[in-house]
């Protein structure tokens, strides 16, 4: 049971992220939802690369003859974290522009003001 705890955490994170994305109207909260989904996906990738009883793939710190986990998912998750930071900054700056133009970041009110 404890082995698959990361998958449960992934399901919870992604569920919360989708809930936030669909039901919340505040643009900042939508950005938080996107970040939650992103983190769920990252945790999922890392967990898929794990092998039972293995150590991190670093030779200077691994005990002699120990098994290692897959290095590729870790490398690609690093990539996706950095891209996540970039997209979050872009989303937040778009939210700033919307607030400056409409004076609100509630998506319903923004839509109403446009008509």
């Amino acid at each position: 049971m404890i082995d698959n705890f990361p998958y449960i955490a992934v399901a919870i994170l992604m569920g919360l992220g989708f809930y936030t994305l669909i039901f919340k109207k505040n643009l900042i909260k939508i950005a938080i939802g996107i970040t939650l989904i992103e983190n769920g996906a990252n945790l999922f990738l890392i967990t898929l690369g794990y092998r039972k009883g293995s150590v991190a793939p670093i030779y200077t710190q691994a005990p002699e003859g120990a098994n290692m986990v897959l290095p590729t998912p870790q490398a690609l998750t690093l990539t996706s974290i950095v891209i996540g930071v970039a997209t979050t900054a872009l989303i937040l700056s778009i939210a700033m522009i919307i607030y400056r133009k409409y004076g609100t970041i509630n998506t319903d009110e923004v839509r109403r003001l446009k008509e």
């Binding site: 082995d3 698959n4 998958y7 449960i8 992934v10 399901a11 992604m14 569920g15 989708f18 809930y19 669909i22 039901f23 690369g49 092998r51 039972k52 009883g53 293995s54 991190a56 793939p57 670093i58 030779y59 200077t60 710190q61 098994n67 290692m68 897959l70 290095p71 590729t72 870790q74 490398a75 690609l76 690093l78 990539t79 974290i81 950095v82 891209i83 930071v85 970039a86 997209t87 900054a89 872009l90 937040l92 700056s93 778009i94 700033m96 522009i97 607030y99 400056r100």
Partner: protein, 230 residues
Amino acid sequence: MAKRFITLLLIALLAYMFLPFIVEVDETSQLNRVAEKYVTAGPLELGAANLVTAVIVTYRGLDTLGEIVVLFIAAVGIGFLLRKPSKKKIAAPKRSSSEILRTGSDFLIPLLILFGVYIFTHGHLTPGGGFQGGVVLTSAALLFMLSNTEARFNKQLTEVIESVSGIFYLIIGILGLILAGGFLDSRFLQLGEMGRLFSAGAIPIIYSIIGIKVGMELIGILEKLRKEEI
């Protein structure tokens, strides 16, 4: 109400998608073929102790180049969106930061810079690397911004450092193409003894360049976001 119900149902279906992972986890301790190759051949071919770094910098160096391009485009996009200063300025008087914050940041900023540089120069030996080191450098800059509310970073200087390190990254990639096996191949320098600081070919150089580039990129983003007064 119906819409809410349907969406909740969709989320429940998504949770159901993860059920196989929760119920039947396979207990294998085997690596797959690609990972086996990276784990066994990585230290011999590249001399890098940290295999994640070996994968990022050399085996999948093009991915990292793409990642840096994405980061650059995001920074450019933020600069484009926030190019016009806001029209109505709410003249909130700027409070100067507290004594505790100023004293603490004077103590912490040099340590943070040192730690960031340590992380990206030792990327091939210990956990860490260019991106993490760059972000630690950015946190030092953020602390500086919080403690000195009036001071500004020189925008031109960060942009110049960032572009120059980007160009150096490409030049090293092309050197790998000419002197070694392919684009971004780090083996055109001596591999050296595994576990030393100057080893693993060009990996420490490439990762230091990435660290400086990422740090300057993120400092630029912070500076652009801070300039705005909503």
